[in-house]
């Protein structure tokens, strides 16, 4: 083939593939949308849960996974035309914020009220917690005697000089860190929380950008104590049963371990609110195992048992969760971390 002919052939092939894929993209000849459309900042095996839901109810679910705050902006920008029926997201502050910005509609459901403890749903019924995660202490048992850990306020106890050079934690850009600090501000006030963070820094806390890295560092012995989400520990433990890391439930003689929720609410301008409510109710009851199981989270529904890996961690007392405070104090938490110089 001559050169121009080859170029022409390449061009023709390109345009053809472009045309075909273009039609697909633009929804020409695309599939019918599902009965319920979900925007979700969560994805762990969410798909399996939705398949199960469809098998049980005959209602099909489409979902888009995205970043929590970005999906909220999308919801706001789409306004009345949004295809979304249900908004699923992580972090109580985020849920409370979506409700405050008027994006979620109240749902009057006896089933939801019966399934979810009051502490984990909105007082105005606009959002409902579905899964629970704890952020607590993990340690390397070779280097740490758990008796050394403060049982009344474990987070504040890590400011003790005995922990100098032995701490590892997540960075300040991480929502887990921010929400923990927001809850501490709620609990102790700003001044005392600032002192706690400064105390961690005085102990030369090593900051890492990933919970798995924290656990690996503990396992390798380069850190003695770290703050991690319980489900990362569960996951690592499942993969590496001989991992030399133990979990410690923080502040059990005090305010309890810091927890946060994933949850959902029906979108204000949903065109299928009844179906969305049905999915929400299912997720809070029969679908709990499917919703939390893949990620080793705790079901919010007290009638549903946590999975086997998590069950062996035992019961723990959770710090009371104030979603509005998480929402309103999060920006202050970011500011506090910056003031303390916590990277």
């Amino acid at each position: 083939m001559t050169r121009p002919a080859r170029l022409a052939a390449l061009g023709a092939a390109l345009s053809l593939s472009t045309l075909v894929s273009g039609c697909g993209f633009l929804g020409i000849g695309g599939e019918e949308p599902g009965d319920i459309q979900v925007y979700s900042a969560r994805h762990y095996d969410l798909e399996d849960a939705f398949v199960e839901f469809e098998e049980e109810t005959g209602l099909s679910v489409d979902f888009i996974y995205g970043d929590d705050t970005e999906l909220l902006e999308r919801l706001k920008a789409e306004g009345d035309e949004t295809p979304a029926d249900l908004f699923v997201t992580v972090d109580a502050g985020n849920l409370s914020n979506a409700a405050d910005q008027g994006e979620l509609a109240p749902v009057d459901s006896e089933a939801l009220r019966g399934a979810i403890p009051e502490a984990y749903r909105d007082s105005q019924d606009r959002w409902f917690g579905l899964a629970l995660r704890a952020r607590t202490v993990a340690y390397n048992p070779d280097n740490v005697d758990p008796a050394e850990l403060d049982t009344e306020d474990t987070y504040a106890g890590l400011t003790d000089p005995t922990w100098r050079g032995r701490l590892c934690m997540r960075d300040s850009t991480e929502a887990y860190t921010q929400s923990l600090i927001a809850s501490l501000i709620d609990l102790h006030g700003r001044e005392a929380t600032l002192e706690i963070v400064e105390g961690w820094l005085a102990n030369e806390v090593e900051i890492m950008s990933n919970d798995i890295l924290l656990l690996e560092a503990l396992d390798a012995g380069t850190c003695d104590v770290a703050l991690v989400n319980h489900y990362y520990y569960a996951r690592e433990l499942e993969e590496k049963p001989d991992m030399n890391v133990e979990l410690f439930w923080a502040s059990q003689d005090g305010a309890g371990t810091h927890v946060n929720i994933s949850g959902a609410g029906v979108v204000r301008s949903s065109d299928a609110p009844a179906k969305a409510q049905r999915l929400l109710e299912w997720l809070a009851t029969d679908g709990q195992e499917a919703f939390v199981g893949g990620n080793h989270e705790y079901p919010v529904n007290p009638d549903v048992a946590p999975d086997d890996v998590v069950a062996q961690f035992g019961e723990f007392e959770a710090m009371p969760l104030d979603a509005e405070a998480y929402g309103s104090l999060n920006a202050e938490a970011v500011d506090l971390l910056a003031e303390a110089g916590y990277e």
Binding site: L26, E206, S209
Partner: protein, 559 residues
Amino acid sequence: MTHLAVRRGRLDLRPRRVAASGRAAWSLLVLLVAVLVTAPVLAVVVDGLVRSEELLLPRDLDSMVVTTILLMLGVGAGTLVVGGGLAWLVTAYRFPLRNVLVWLLVLPLAMPAYILGFVFLSTFDASGPVQGLARELFGQGVWSPDVRSLPGAVLVMSLSLYPYVYLMARAALVEQSRTTYDAARTLGASRGRAFRKVLVPLARPSLAAGLALVMMETLTDFATVQYFGVKTVSVGVYLVWKGSFNFSSASQMSVLVLMFAVAVLAGERLLRGRARYHQRGGRGQGLEALALHGWRGWAATGACVLALAAGFFVPVLRLVWWAAGEALADPAGFVDPRFGGYLANSLGVATLAALGCVLVSLAMSHAVRLGGGRVVRSAAQLTTFGYAVPGAVIGIGVLLAFAWLDRALERLGVPGGTGLLVTGSVAGILYAYLVRFLAPAYQAVDASFAKVQPSMTLSAMSLGAGPLRVLTRVHLPLVRPGVAVALVLVAIDAIKELPIVLLLRPFGFTTVSVWVYQLAGENFWEKAAFPALVIVAAAVVPVFLLFRQVRAADERAGR
């Protein structure tokens, strides 16, 4: 015969009479593109001014600004040394494996920063295998560098971004007429002096263009800097945004990032200077490469391999290692059945984006060349801003702009307004890509245009060719190298791109990068390794195509 360094601020020989009517349409086109491309960015700025009640800037803003400047300067210097040095090495010398290395050296482009950053950290930080081995060999007290730091980030970003400078610099060196250099040599200049006094000044516009791209990438990066704990102003945008769960509060921070972008573009203009370098006689022949023998040759090979290993092969091996582990553990579930569809989506959008950006760039460069004056030239420059704005911010800007348009149309009585145009189809993604990736396309095409003698355009037009004919028959064949580079850069960028797709995709539209993000976001790195490798492989294809073309051109030119 080469026309060396024609120095002038503007084309004073513009064919004013020849094609006044045709020119106006082309100028208008540039203005239209500028409006289209700046609209989402403007939407963000306006939204910030209108909606946020108080000034919400992070407390450590000054340190963020300093960090950003240091990072940009560091990465700029790093890429200039690595990219520029390697480009010089492969064009001026012949050494073992040069012909292969010439194109392999672009490969780090195929590695998304969010993958490279993580792979680097997990390999080299305290609990990683390298330091672990060091501890086993030398005991616990062995020196351990702080990888998660500003220097660490500079190193990693320089290694992943140097191909921008390399590509531009190489194109500049290859397109240069040999005669210029030969003239300097016959006049008694040493090889080094001819390099400094003739080649570098002639390559300056291209180097500046490459550096500008690198700096803008550095400015908008979020993934790598976050892994390395480097708080830049872009991290500030995310911190304010996510920290308050509301984008409006982060608009002012976005404006600050825009100011950095302005500074980068102004810097690029400054570097290019008022000089316009043109060479007569179409595309140059390039330098004659000097053969390096013995250890010198192998040292040159070694330098190239080292850069490649650090920026490409080591991370790829690490990914392969993870992927292999995953494949052995679960051979049946290793490849998700929907993966083919995701890949088709990635390639489809990338192709559309590359074609679109390059067509628009060509039209703009052409219009500027036809002589639209200061306004048109500024408008064309304005369209490159998008590259310096973080993808998520552009995504929000597109959403905002269309939300306004939708409401305006509804108020005018159009039922349903724009409907769900942006997020109901890939139109929104493609639009955002145009905004974001027009810069690399335009820089590459324009750099090639800069080397086309104005007299070429003039003669064609005075011979009666209309603007379109000049474009297709004169300009396009001359700037083909720039077009090829532009296609490749946009395609690779688009395959790797994440935040825009994540935000604007319609239901059922998943790309490979979204898939990687879903897995990596939850630290399923072993599971993410295979799709990550596929992204890398997909990005390697355009690189390979580009260099086949380049090599063919080299052979025709007898190099």
